[in-house]
Subunit: 179 residues, 2 copies
């Protein structure tokens, strides 16, 4: 046990929904005192950065939590226990029509204070264009943005989604690109 | 109303806790069909990237959601309606003892599918060392990591926190640093 570890002593699941569960657990802190932990349980997500001819593929969609449209790389939730690579390929195909070779780029923890979600980000190579096939109830537009403009849109606050920011800046860092 | 907008028709707050609320809202989709939206409501967070002599300041803490220790830039939750700059300065001071001039770097949406949290990230300049003053029930260690090593730790999956990944890679991009 690490000196910082918190040990579970009990807890309840307050909600078990379609995309998340909410659990409130009782824990013992490193000094022995009790505390509550409010935790969102989530199957995780998979996302793909596809760069083609210097442009990246983004999807514009309405995000009800913010009451606004966002620009994000193609992504979706994992089925329980699903291989994130399989989910990434599926979401890319459904949302944009593209298939591609996918390489693991990085995993991120979106907000570790209260969610256990892991977002698995892939970089795409050798893209092949196909037909978009959205899920029922899914509404989005695919847009193509030059990489340098996307980097500027991060600075300007026009791209805010954490997986999209991480993917674009990681790609720029990996490829030693300077704008 | 944009072509992608979802319109609220009702909803309930299922939990109102210490760090988050859980709401399940009824919405109407762009094609007129009904859907549910499971949304975590959160006051938002503020975080600071401080680079001193080529090293960045990170805090190592236990994250119960993942049952592991993480490395993250100093950060904390906003009080309701609080100026994120004030929160960022407070969290930097409490967690690390440092005060500094803070400049807005970027805001991120950690997981826009289900949370309305906004994380406001600042870059620090002219750091002044002081005394760490942790909140009751807060346990963490401050570590200093050379910037290039931190970038490598993102590639190696040793730094996964989204705000930390975004802050470090944005700093590297802004300063045209190549590793």
């Amino acid at each position: 046990m690490s000196a910082l570890e918190e040990k579970r002593t009990g807890g309840v699941t307050l909600y078990d929904g379609k995309i998340l569960k909410l659990c409130v657990d009782d824990v013992t802190l490193p000094d022995g005192s009790p505390a509550k932990r409010e935790i969102v349980r989530h199957n995780g997500g998979a996302a793909v950065l596809l760069v083609e001819n210097g442009e990246i593929l983004l999807v514009r969609q309405y995000r009800y939590a913010y009451l606004e449209e966002t620009l994000e790389i193609p992504a979706g939730k994992l089925e329980r226990g699903e291989d994130p690579l399989v989910a990434a390929a599926r979401e890319l195909r459904e949302e944009t029509g593209y298939s591609a070779k996918l390489y693991p780029a990085l995993d991120i923890y979106p907000s570790p204070g209260y969610t256990d979600e892991i977002i698995h980000i892939y970089f795409a190579a050798e893209p092949q264009r196909g037909e978009q096939k959205l899920d029922k109830g899914e509404f989005l537009n695919v847009v193509r943005i030059p990489l340098g403009e996307a980097v500027k849109m991060i600075s300007d606050g026009k791209i805010k989604d954490s997986k999209t920011v991480a993917a674009i800046l990681k790609y720029v860092a990996d490829n030693g690109i300077k704008f």
